[in-house]
Symmetry: C2
Subunit: 241 residues, 2 copies
Amino acid sequence: MTTGTIHNINTWLTQINNDFKAAVSVDCVIFGYDDDALKILVSKCDMPPFEHEYSLLGDIVHPDETTDESAKRVLIAKTGFTDVFLEQVQVFSDLNRHPLGRVITVAYFSLIKIDKDHLDHLEKNAHLQWLDVNEIRSLAFDHFNIMHTCLRKMQKQIREQPIGFNLLPKNFTLLQLQRLYEVVLNIVLDKRNFRRKLKGLGILKDIGEIEEAVSHRPARLYTFDESVYENKKVTGFNFEL
Amino acid sequence: MTTGTIHNINTWLTQINNDFKAAVSVDCVIFGYDDDALKILVSKCDMPPFEHEYSLLGDIVHPDETTDESAKRVLIAKTGFTDVFLEQVQVFSDLNRHPLGRVITVAYFSLIKIDKDHLDHLEKNAHLQWLDVNEIRSLAFDHFNIMHTCLRKMQKQIREQPIGFNLLPKNFTLLQLQRLYEVVLNIVLDKRNFRRKLKGLGILKDIGEIEEAVSHRPARLYTFDESVYENKKVTGFNFEL
DNA sequence: CCAAAAGTGTTATATTTACACCCATGC
DNA sequence: GCATGGGTGTAAATATAACACTTTTGG
């Protein structure tokens, strides 16, 4: 192919041939943290040849929405949460990744709090299920690959930005936060160093309350102080642990 | 919209309606470093209403190629280089981003060495031009936005991985390398600390030669030792400056 | 001899790591 | 009283930051 003859969508191409159109979808890796495990929300897949696999939650992108909007729509529809942390990760476009034909998908990951209200909602979607990321051996389509890519990106991002709070209840103890990092990153953290680091960042607010109904000394409860974070962010911020 | 009624491309949807197909393109932010400036390769745009703007190099994604392959094809066609550093950045899918209709684009950035052979090749593509990223005020379509997003991602990545070498000749002096970082990141670096840091990383190989034809004390020439980097990468590597 | 970049070490400061004990609560 | 996690400080090691002069080459 010579340089003079290739199409160029940014110059003299004047119409788009139908042969060059593709279906575009979004797929969401929805992370939740529960029971000291990192989980993702999946759905039973009933499309051959993946009838006995689980798949990520996704949908085709509608003509009147961006891919970000599409991913948000999927999340709201499936989880009921309207205010979700959502991050675009990567396009997957292998030619035969989907049995319906050419489907180019944009992968997203999302972090949500698994709570009682949420579980009630999920009961209406009996086909949905939480899987421990460490126990997943395969998923439908190329979703195992997508899940892994999103997991790596999330692990990187959780070290650089305070996004882990999205996985915890509004108020949490320092040990809960530490365990979250340990589980997500598969590492062991030193309690004192972890606490010093987080208090030093100044993004935690002691809400002046303590745990209730625990069979040990109750811990103080903290919340993520987003306003402090927003102020510091501009000057640079290192969340490394 | 209720949860029971949304489409789901991963379950019971059995065909893809043409109304749900879109044109998919790739757009490449091709970075080059020359004359102590970071530049990008652009093309004169002749599509209304952007006749007097420059645009990124891109093309529609063909039915028989992934988006990565598509981006690589554009790069080879426009620059002649077959072995290019290429990184997927993000999807841009605003509804009216392209005058031909719905075009969802996948943005990539690429790092290449600007050298004489390259310039010879470009002369055959008279519509191509290098623009200093600091002097660009606008580009066609949403390309200014795309360029900025790619620039930020590249700046982040160059601090974490030794990708800067892709912008330099095979052999280079330490000062050239330092200037590259200073220009790309808009920072000032300390010469001694920079040298200590890089020598400590062990990824530079002194090739035993010196600069020629310079009107000052000639500097040693180094090259990037990829094999050492590949070995170290698995154990973790911090390229922060 | 002048201009231009090459090349080189030390000290102070900040950050990170490693590590052990007493405390409060429920049962 | 015992099991469980809550909560705290210090010292060593490492990494980062600041800083100035002599050397070598070409013109």
